[in-house]
């Protein structure tokens, strides 16, 4: 702690010294120019005017997302995600929230093997679970779910592209969306430095990360090859 404090104080002292010099120089130069009181007053009026105008203009600027202020709402979203994941892991399809359903279809397989392949990403971006059915047919039911993703009030669900699922003969190919970067700016009136512990908590609360879930219903006689280990077991 002591070393860390020493290290953190040094740049501060540096800044202190630099600003100190700037203020000194500014003072001596302002003495040299006949910087009148009237000019001073105008600078201040204009500055305050700009500040107020900026506060007003900000209200008019359209922005992404709606700030969800209440932590309660985040808690609710988180619980919904959790409930879904638990049901997903336990293969309790009846408990799945229909709101999370993105796509569903049935596919007829030709052989009795099914290969699951994930491409486009080093790290699988989807979660997959298989329910074995007693059906003798060659039909595979595919359901894709997506849970809530919110970060600082933006509904990322709309911004983040979904994985693509292609089924070819004996293969299910999960194609991760192309790599993408999203940068958002958000503003805060608060002093983060003073309440650093608080704000980390607050920001953790404000983050709800969802996943793409793929639920397969596969007849028992079909052999599933899962090289990438996407499945929950």
């Amino acid at each position: 702690m002591s070393n860390f404090a020493m290290l953190s104080i040094l740049p501060f002292l540096g800044i202190l010294f630099i600003i100190w010099r700037i203020l000194r120089v500014a003072k001596s130069t302002s003495n040299r120019f006949n910087w009148s009181q009237r000019l001073n007053k105008w600078v201040l009026y204009i500055y305050v005017g700009i500040l107020l105008l900026a506060a007003f203009v900000y209200e008019l600027i359209s922005a992404n997302g709606d700030e969800i202020v209440a932590p309660k709402e985040y808690t609710m979203l988180k619980t919904e995600n959790k409930v879904f994941q638990q049901a997903f892991e336990n293969n309790e399809e009846s408990k799945f929230d229909p709101n999370f359903l993105v796509e569903e279809w049935t596919q007829e397989l030709e052989g009795d093997t099914l290969e699951i392949i994930s491409i486009g990403s080093n790290f699988p971006t989807e979660r997959l679970n298989i329910e074995w059915t007693d059906s003798k047919e060659q039909l595979v039911e595919v359901k894709m779910y997506k849970t809530h993703s919110y970060m600082d009030g933006i509904n990322l669900g709309e911004e983040i592209p979904l994985s693509k699922i292609e089924i070819k003969d004996k293969q299910i190919i999960l194609k991760a969306p192309p790599h993408k970067e999203l940068t958002y700016y958000r503003f805060s009136n608060e002093l983060a430095a003073l309440s650093i512990v608080d704000s980390l908590d607050v920001r953790e609360q404000r983050r709800v990360l969802g996943y793409t879930y793929i639920y397969l219903k596969v007849p028992k006689h079909i052999n599933v090859i899962d090289k990438d280990g996407l499945q929950f077991y």
């Binding site: 104080i9 009181q37 500040l51 900026a54 600027i61 700030e67 990322l156 503003f187 002093l191």
Partner: protein, 243 residues
């Protein structure tokens, strides 16, 4: 013989009016300091990133912190500079005594702190409007004054009190240095000692951390400011005003 009787209140009021006028330049320097702080905070004060579905998401938070650091140093400087010889002597060309001089200085510092606190708080809005207009980045709707008026006022109050406390520290320091040059080193020792020693950390912890609410912190800051100002008054009452 006719003697005009000036009460302390009257003298202090006149002096505050005079000093606010005379020190207008320091407020202009505040504007420049804030603008400098704004430039430095363009890249954000802190950021948080995560990855979902192969998409990197970064949220850059632009808070008032950077501007505040600049303003804090300004406050230290102003609290200090007001006690230096030039300012002292020019204050004493008009009716005054040591107490009224201190009192009016303190009131001026309070007024300047209020101005600095409010403008620091509002300065965030300049980035709010300028960044989206000129930068091609997405930004998130954030809490504005209208969304959370009470919180805004508390935050503003917090800024004001912090700035006031720092300027009070600068004022006490300046008064001590005016008494004896050796006190110059005291502050430097203090700056280094406070975060590195156990007691110093405990004091910092007591003031800044462990606060149930921001309001409680504000009360503490005001308390510390009062202590610093009283010390300055006590010290300078023993001081000859002009040498």
């Amino acid at each position: 013989m006719f003697l005009s009787n000036s009460t302390l209140g009257e003298v202090v009021r006149t002096q505050v009016k005079f000093k606010m006028n005379a020190y207008l330049g320091t407020l202009v320097s505040l504007v420049f300091v804030q603008l400098l702080g704004l430039v430095f905070s363009m890249n954000g004060t802190s950021s948080m990133s995560t990855n979902i579905n192969n998409t990197d998401i970064q949220v850059v938070v632009v808070s008032t912190d950077t501007v505040f650091i600049f303003v804090a140093i300004w406050a230290l400087f102003i609290g200090n500079v007001i006690t230096t010889k030039g300012y002292r002597n020019s204050n004493l060309s008009f009716v005054t005594n040591s107490f009224s001089n201190n009192l009016s200085n303190i009131i001026v510092l309070i007024m300047m702190s209020v101005f600095a606190g409010v403008t620091t708080f509002l300065s965030n809005n300049i980035l709010r409007t300028v960044l989206p207009l000129f930068n091609n980045v997405d930004y998130v709707k954030s809490v504005s004054i209208i969304d959370d008026p009470l919180g805004s006022i508390i935050n503003m109050g917090l800024l004001i009190c912090l700035i006031l406390m720092i300027s009070a520290g600068g004022y006490l320091w300046g008064t001590l240095v005016y008494m004896h040059k050796a006190y110059m080193f005291l502050l430097i020792v203090l700056i280094i000692a406070t975060p590195t020693t156990k007691t110093g950390q405990m004091i910092l912890q007591f003031i800044f951390v462990d606060n149930g609410s921001l309001l409680f912190l504000i009360v503490k800051l005001i308390g510390v400011s009062i202590v610093l100002f009283v010390l300055a008054i006590v010290c300078s009452n023993r001081l000859e005003v002009r040498r």
